[in-house]
């Protein structure tokens, strides 16, 4: 499990930040993205994928979350 931060960019897209490795990237797809179910498998621009336990849509961004690494790029 890794601590990650999910934010929103100026144009409303999701962004991803992994403090431990200082990795900043765009989230290109998110499995669930509705008010009551949000998260699931997220895919990064660099090809990596993480899994966020599905939950209600966070009230505010950015938010720190725990995520599981499914497939890291590199």
């Amino acid at each position: 499990m890794a601590n990650i931060m999910v934010g929103k960019t100026a144009v409303g897209a999701y962004s991803f930040y992994l403090p431990k490795r200082d990795l900043e990237d765009a989230i290109v797809s998110m499995e669930y993205d509705s008010a009551d179910k949000w998260g699931g498998e997220i895919r990064l621009n660099n090809g990596g994928t993480y899994y966020i336990e599905p939950q209600a849509l966070p009230a505010r961004f950015p938010i720190s979350l725990r995520a599981r690494r499914l497939d890291a790029a590199e």
Binding site: D22, L23, N46, R60, P62, I63, S64
Partner: protein
């Protein structure tokens, strides 16, 4: 020298790499690239933030340097103890030229060196007692200090001292904050991790101290983050923000105080200059306090105007008008500077090799003077820095990450720029080759270079370096004829014999 094509740049990289053994060549090849503006993600063309190759000359620093030297050191009313042997602090003392106002030794301590001066017995028996004694002595000798930070040097982590416990106890006794920072030099691959550790320690030990306290806010409160006031940079930036109607609550950390840092969570917008060293704390404040942050660039009139407008766009019309007023006010001054220096500098080429921000931030300032940056590279940048650099640099220009002494020398010999912007370690190597060099870490004992006032000084300094007649009196080694070399060498030999 004129621009290289992509093929030529790539061939140059291959040629330079040839001397390395195969494994080293493979490793270094990933850190050198010809810029390709079509690439969205830098990691496809360049690798960064990796351990330096053993055996090559890198110019990187350590995590302690990143924390003590960069982030914590400039906070002027705190005492930063270099905890461990004496050398780390003494050899880096006052070298960074973070200007501040105050009476050194009484209420400010920026250029002084405080250290626990570890001896063998402290390594064997542990240094916690010594640290406790040192804290008590500081309180007695310098009663006007506002707090202490304990900057760990390598041995502290190795012998497993519990500086947190000493810090907590000492803080209680003297009723001032003591911040233990675990920035031992061996952590991470460069000073970059030191920045991160320092940011985290500010987050954990300082930032929330005034949460819930009353604060007379205005809608125009901002903070300057990541400006270290080198040669007065932060002052030259601050006056522009104030002129456009903003109120600068805090300056991180050049000429900064502990109180300013504690008040930062009350501002409306964080303005981030050095992204590399302080993005961490900006992200934290965005999440915890909902304060947005904005990267800006105060090098050269084009970028300043762009940045002032971007900052103003976050506020109401009053500030937007203020920004336009400021830009208009300095316009004639900038035109005069450019009229004076551009004809002398037009078409000159520059190669840069600096830390984690300036290799991309100063490009605009050179372009304002009609100069061209043909190669740039960082000591300790990460991918996100290169993402931002690719757009700023011309196509097929050379990029080098954590360049080795050999690589940099070869590149510069081959590309023959008119000016090199780098540090003291590079300065005399290149000046002996007949290429002027300006130190872009410390502004070569000049500055400020930020803001409109800074640009005038920047332009003068670059002209002074390039147009100095001494360069034409020197013959760089690659221009010397082999025949011409021999007799002098023989002559020298004879003299010795």
């Amino acid at each position: 020298m004129s621009e290289l094509t992509r093929e030529e740049t790539e061939a140059l990289i291959q040629e330079v790499l040839e001397v390395y053994p195969e494994k080293a060549r493979k490793d270094r090849a990933k850190h050198l690239a010809a810029n390709d503006q079509s690439v969205e993600q830098s990691k496809k063309c360049i690798t960064s933030n990796r351990k330096s190759l053993p055996g090559v000359m890198t110019v990187r620093g350590c995590a302690y340097a990143g924390s003590k030297g960069v982030v914590w050191g400039p906070i002027k009313d705190m005492i930063h103890v270099s905890h461990g042997p004496i050398g780390c602090g003494q050899y880096s003392r006052a070298g960074r030229r973070n200007y501040y106002v105050g009476t050194t030794g009484v209420d400010t301590f920026g250029t002084m060196n405080f250290t626990s001066d570890f001896q063998e017995k402290d390594i064997v028996f542990g240094g916690d007692k010594k640290l406790a004694k040192l804290i008590a002595e500081i309180e007695m000798l310098f009663p006007l200090h506002k707090g202490i930070s304990v900057q760990s040097e390598c041995p502290i982590g190795l012998i497993g001292d519990d500086i947190e416990a000493v810090a907590k106890k000492g803080a209680k006794e003297m009723d001032k904050p003591i911040v233990p920072v675990r920035c031992e030099g061996f952590r991470g691959v460069s000073q970059s991790l030191g920045h991160h550790i320092a940011n985290d320690s500010i987050r954990d030990w300082v930032l929330d101290k005034r949460d819930g306290q009353a604060f007379e806010a205005t809608p125009y409160d901002v903070s300057i983050i990541g400006d270290y006031n080198i040669g007065g940079d932060a002052w030259a930036s601050r006056i522009l923000l104030e002129e456009m109607g903003l109120r600068v609550v805090s300056q991180w950390s050049g000429d900064g105080t502990l109180a300013e840092i504690e008040k930062t969570p009350k501002v409306k917008l964080n303005l981030l200059h050095c992204y590399r060293s302080m993005n961490y704390i900006s992200r934290h404040m965005e999440e915890k306090y909902g304060i947005p942050w904005l990267e800006y660039n105060f090098f050269g009139p084009t970028k300043i105007a762009e940045s002032l407008r971007a900052i103003a766009a976050q506020f109401d019309d009053h500030i937007k008008e203020g920004a336009e007023r400021v830009i208009a006010k300095y316009q004639p001054m900038m035109e005069a500077v450019i009229a004076k220096y551009k004809p002398r500098l037009q078409g000159k080429t520059v190669m840069l090799y600096v830390g984690g921000l300036r290799p991309r931030h100063v490009i605009g300032a050179y372009e304002d003077l009609g100069m061209q940056v043909i190669g740039t590279g960082y000591e300790f940048a990460h991918n996100d820095d290169y993402d931002r650099t690719i757009k700023e640099m011309g196509n097929a220009t050379l990029l080098y990450d954590d360049a080795t002494g050999f690589e940099l020398e070869e590149f510069i010999k081959r590309m023959k720029p008119d000016l090199v912007g780098s540090g003291i370690k590079e300065k005399y190597v290149f000046q002996k080759m007949g290429i002027p060099l300006r130190q872009m870490h410390s502004w070569d004992y000049s500055g400020p270079y930020h803001g409109y006032d800074g640009f005038a000084i920047f332009a003068r300094d670059m002209d002074m370096a390039i147009s100095n007649p001494c360069w034409s009196k020197q013959t760089p080694p690659w221009k010397k004829q082999p025949e011409a070399l021999e007799p002098t060498e023989e002559g020298d030999l004879k003299k010795v014999a």
